[in-house]
Amino acid sequence: MINLVNVYRSFDGIKALDGLTLSVKKGGLLGILGPGGSGKSTLCKVACGLVKPDAGVVFVDDVDLIRADPKTVRRIQARCGVQFQNDALFEHMSVWANVAYPLQRLTDYSPGEIRAMAIERLATVGLAGFENQMPSQLSGGQRRRVALARACATEPEILICDDPTAGLDPVTSRHILDMIVGIRYQVRNTVVVVSSDTLGLLSIADRVALIWDGKLIAEDTPAVIWQDQRREVRRYLDDAKLPIRRPSWA
C-alpha cells in the first residue's frame, strides 16, 4: 500500500532520511521505533505527501506522490488520517468542531449525521461529554485523544500516528495504543504508528521498523525484532530499559 524506495531528505544540511526503503502492506499495522531525531516524523510526513524527499520514490497504492500533480496528491491525502506529534488541533474550534471538520470537508453527510458521527468518534476515544470544550481546556492526554478522533473521523484507508504517546504517562500511553488497535479492527485500515513506548508498540504492531540516523536498521515481526542480537538493535532495545515485563510472545 505504501512504498518508500531509497528516500533521502535533509533539513539545513542535516540528514533526516538517508536512503530509507520501507513498505507497509494493506491492512497492516507497522510500528516505527527509533531514538529522537532519527527521522520518524519526517518519514510519516513523506509517506502522506506532506514533505517531498530530496531523492527516492514514494508510492501510495500505484500513485507516485513525488511526480503526481497537486490534485492527485490532495486526493491521496484525503485518504490518509494523520495524527501529528503535537496534536495540531485547530485551537479556534471546539473539540466537536475539530472532529467534525474533516467530515464536513471530505464527505457528503448531512449536518445532523456529521454531528452524530463526531460525537460517536469522541465517545470511541473516551471523550463523551467533552464536545463543547475548547482544545486549550484539555489535558495533554485528552488533546492526543481528540487528535486521534479527528485523524480517524472519516475512517481513512491509511492512519498515520506520529508519536501519539509522547509525553504521556504509561497508563494513558497504553490506552491510546489500545484505542488505535480498536480503531484498526473497526475500520480495517492500514496503520503506521511511531511511538517511543517501545514495549507498547511491540505489543500491538504486525511488523516493526527500527530507524536510526535516517537509516532502516531492522524491519520484521515484533518477536524477531525482540530477539535480534545485532548490536545496533540491542543498542536501542537495551537503552529503552526493557523489559519491565516480558510480552507474551517473547
Binding site: 491525502q77 494523520v82 495540531a88 488541533l89
Partner: protein, 258 residues
C-alpha cells in the same frame, strides 16, 4: 582587517533580502491566481473581514483624530506666515488624504493586523496545523492566505476612507477652536482645491499597502519554524518588512500617481 568581512556581511544581507522578496512575490502570484479563480474560503473571508476591518475601526479612528490635529497645527504655521489662513483646509487636507493618512493608517494596521496574522499563521505552522489542513485536502493558500489578503485590502481601503474623514473633521474642529478659521472656510478651501484624483490616490495607496501587509505577514507566518522563538521572529520580520515595503511603495506610487 580588510574590507572582506563587511563586504561578505552586505552580500549575505542582500542574498537574504532577495530570498525573502522572492518568497513574497511567489506567494503573491499564487494568491492572485486563486483570487482570479475565486478559489478561496468565503467563511474565513467573512471572519477575517470582521476581525481585521470592523475591529480595527476604533484604533484607526483614534489615530486619525490625532493626525488631523497635528497636521492642522503644522499647516497653520505656513499658511499663517504667508497670510493664507483661508487655505488652511487645503493645506492640512491635501497632505492627509494623499500622503500621511494612508501611510500612517497602514503602519497602524500593520502593527495590529499584520503582526496578528504573522503570529497566527506562524503558530499554525510550527504546531503542524497547516499540515493538518493539507491532510484534509485543503489548500492552505486558498484557505488561509487568500481570504486574509482580500480582507486586508478591503479593510485598509475602508479604514483609510473612514480615517481620512475623521482626520479632516478633527482638523476643521481644531482649526476653528485654536486658529480661528471657521469651518465653512476650512471645508470650502479643501473642496475647491482638492480634486477627486487626489482622493483616489490615497485610496489606491491604501489598497497597495493592504496587499503588501497581507502578503508579507502571511509569507513570514508560513515560513516560521523552531517553535515560539520562531513565531516571535516571524512577527518581528513581518512588521519590519511591511514598514519598509510601505515606504518604498509609497515613494514609487507618489511618482507614478502624480
Amino acid at each position: 582587517m580588510g574590507l572582506g568581512a563587511p563586504a561578505r556581511g552586505v552580500g549575505r544581507l542582500f542574498v537574504l533580502a532577495a530570498y525573502e522578496v522572492g518568497g513574497v512575490f511567489l506567494l503573491l502570484m499564487q494568491v492572485v491566481g486563486r483570487l482570479f479563480r475565486l478559489d478561496f474560503d468565503r467563511l474565513e473571508f467573512r471572519r477575517c473581514l470582521l476581525q481585521m476591518g470592523y475591529r480595527s475601526v476604533s484604533i484607526i479612528a483614534a489615530t486619525a483624530f490625532v493626525i488631523g490635529i497635528i497636521l492642522v497645527i503644522q499647516a497653520f504655521v505656513f499658511v499663517d506666515r504667508y497670510g493664507l489662513r483661508s487655505q488652511l483646509g487645503w493645506g492640512s487636507g491635501f497632505v492627509t488624504i494623499r500622503e500621511l493618512g494612508p501611510v500612517l493608517f497602514a503602519l497602524m494596521f500593520s502593527g495590529r493586523v499584520g503582526a496578528y496574522t504573522a503570529a497566527e499563521l506562524g503558530t499554525m505552522q510550527v504546531t503542524d496545523q497547516v499540515d493538518g489542513l493539507r491532510c484534509l485536502a485543503i489548500d492552505p493558500i486558498a484557505y488561509l492566505v487568500v481570504p486574509r489578503f482580500a480582507a486586508m485590502v478591503l479593510s485598509l481601503v475602508a479604514l483609510t476612507i473612514i480615517g481620512n474623514t475623521i482626520a479632516l473633521f478633527s482638523a476643521s474642529l481644531v482649526g476653528q477652536i485654536m486658529m480661528d478659521v471657521d469651518q465653512h472656510t476650512f471645508w470650502a478651501s479643501l473642496l475647491e482645491m482638492l480634486t477627486p484624483w487626489d482622493y483616489l490616490t490615497g485610496v489606491f495607496k491604501a489598497a497597495f499597502f493592504g496587499g503588501i501587509i497581507a502578503v508579507t505577514s502571511c509569507h513570514f507566518g508560513l515560513i516560521a519554524s523552531a517553535g515560539a522563538p520562531g513565531v516571535g521572529r516571524a512577527v518581528n520580520s513581518s512588521v519590519v518588512a511591511s514598514a519598509i515595503a510601505i515606504f518604498v511603495v509609497d515613494f514609487f506610487s507618489t511618482f507614478v500617481l502624480g
